[in-house]
């Protein structure tokens, strides 16, 4: 049980990295998502390509590129910063997809009505489209957060001592491997489960009542 404080430290690092990158990734993701929903012929393929590469390559490779290849171009980052940056970039790609889908799910008439009133595009997004899109965006967004939190375990490869890393480090010293990993699992569960419940209840609240099958 004396290992517990160590685990809490790992948990704290996991929360810190995920928290920072979720906030940044959400901002960036929303920005990209909004740009993408405009269907601009120049910007869209670019964002599309970015999203494809981020979705199509393992996160560990992305982390390595940020940490080990960026230095070749003069960008030396601390492990923590590199981890947050990599998570932010990757997260923003996934969030971008969710946001685009949410915006496209708002009926076209809402765009037409608001542009007919003379609102400019930013005003339309800010006052009319996004508030409605949030209904479609929120449940998968929270679900995506859970995935990102779990993905944060990958950054242990560049020396960030987060929860999973703590598990591996501890397993070296004490025999109860299963117990260690149960604890790791339980701690992830402790962060993820509430989020999943939130996502589920948002989904229930925000989607219209339906006929039973």
């Amino acid at each position: 049980m004396q290992i517990f404080p160590f685990f809490l430290k790992g948990l704290w690092m996991t929360v810190l990295i995920s928290g920072a990158s979720l906030i940044l990734g959400t901002l960036l993701g929303f920005l990209l998502g909004m740009l993408r929903s405009r269907k601009n012929r120049l910007v869209n393929p670019l964002i599309g390509f970015f999203v494809d590469v981020m979705r199509g390559t393992p996160f560990i490779v992305q982390v390595f590129i940020v940490f080990f290849i960026f230095p070749e171009f003069g960008i030396q980052l601390e492990a923590f910063t590199a981890a947050v940056l990599a998570m932010t970039i990757m997260g923003s790609a996934f969030i971008c997809e969710i946001v685009t889908a949410g915006i496209l799910a708002v009926p076209k008439g809402q765009w037409e009505a608001s542009s007919s009133s003379g609102l400019n595009i930013l005003q339309q997004l800010r006052f009319v489209i996004l508030p409605q899109a949030m209904k479609t965006i929120l449940p998968p967004l929270v679900g995506q957060y859970v995935l990102l939190i779990k993905d944060s375990s990958v950054v242990s490869a560049i020396g960030v001592v987060e929860l999973t890393r703590v598990g591996w480090l501890t397993v070296v010293r004490i025999p109860e491997g299963l117990m260690v990993f149960s604890l790791v699992g339980a701690l992830y569960f402790a962060i993820s489960y509430p989020l999943i419940r939130i996502s589920n209840s948002l989904e229930r609240k925000l989607t219209v009542n339906r006929v039973s099958l």
Binding site: F6, F67, F68, G159, R165, W168, L169, V172, P175, G177
Partner: protein
């Protein structure tokens, strides 16, 4: 300016370790990096009169960390091979481990010949000395390499996923007390000539650092600090109580 100048100017020696290998490098109860190699690194830094920075990577991160310049010295339980030496410079070996074959006490395998058969599965650690040795001496057996610590191989053995394991005997003996008594037995004969070297590594353009590390070990052997480190960490298990 050479590598050493830069280290001194920076005031910090950055050493990459993989903290999964007690007693070479691991994280102790208090969450501190320690172990034989970490102590050597600390001593080096002290004698350079700079601070030590321990960079702790996963296996996948070790080599890139050295090559990309994140770390100055790679202090892992790595065996120098000629192929690897094409990319990095290995310093003189500072210690010799004895890779051994181990199996469940009840298993029928007795000699190397019993194990060198296609139907036998051998568990090793990815990238470790054991992996190189097993490939060399047990070419017919099926090899499964695990990632993580030496404990993984023992665990895989006891779970029945492999028939025997190959790892250096120190690492095996170290973890045995944590498993049910008498469940694992080591083959009496060590593999190879009984001695396989471990070396620190530096980038191959850092010849000044390379020489310095070699000189360091020479000095340490002479002034007894080498002996102290090795006998505390590697030749007894007294450290276990303290860390």
């Amino acid at each position: 300016a050479g590598e050493l100048d830069e280290i001194v100017k920076r005031g910090e020696l950055r050493v990459a370790v993989q903290s999964g290998v007690a007693p070479f490098a691991f994280v102790d109860k208090t969450g501190k990096h320690t172990g034989s190699m970490v102590e050597f690194a600390a001593d080096m830094a002290a004698r350079m009169n700079v601070k030590l920075k321990v960079l702790d990577y996963d296996w996948d991160g070790l080599i890139p960390a050295l090559l990309s310049g994140k770390a100055d010295i790679l202090a892992a339980d790595m065996t120098p091979t000629l192929q690897r030496a094409l990319k990095v410079s290995f310093c003189d070996s500072w210690y010799y481990v004895q890779p051994c074959v181990f199996t469940k006490t009840a298993a029928k395998y007795q000699t190397l010949a019993d194990v060198n058969k296609p139907e036998v599965t051998v568990g090793v650690l990815l990238g470790s000395t054991g992996e190189n040795i097993a490939k060399k001496y047990l070419p017919k057996a099926k090899i499964k390499s695990y990632k993580g610590s030496g404990r993984m191989v023992v665990q895989a053995l006891l779970a029945g996923h492999v028939d025997v394991g190959v790892n250096d005997d120190l690492a095996v003996l170290m973890v045995l007390p944590d498993f049910p008594p008498n469940s694992v037995r080591l083959f009496p004969k060590r593999l190879g000539d009984g001695k396989d070297p471990l070396s620190f590594a530096v980038r191959y353009d850092a010849q000044d650092l390379w020489q310095w590390v070699n000189l360091y070990f020479k000095t340490a052997r002479e002034d007894g600090s080498y002996k102290k480190n090795v006998s505390y960490w590697l030749e007894s298990s007294g450290w276990k109580k303290e860390h």
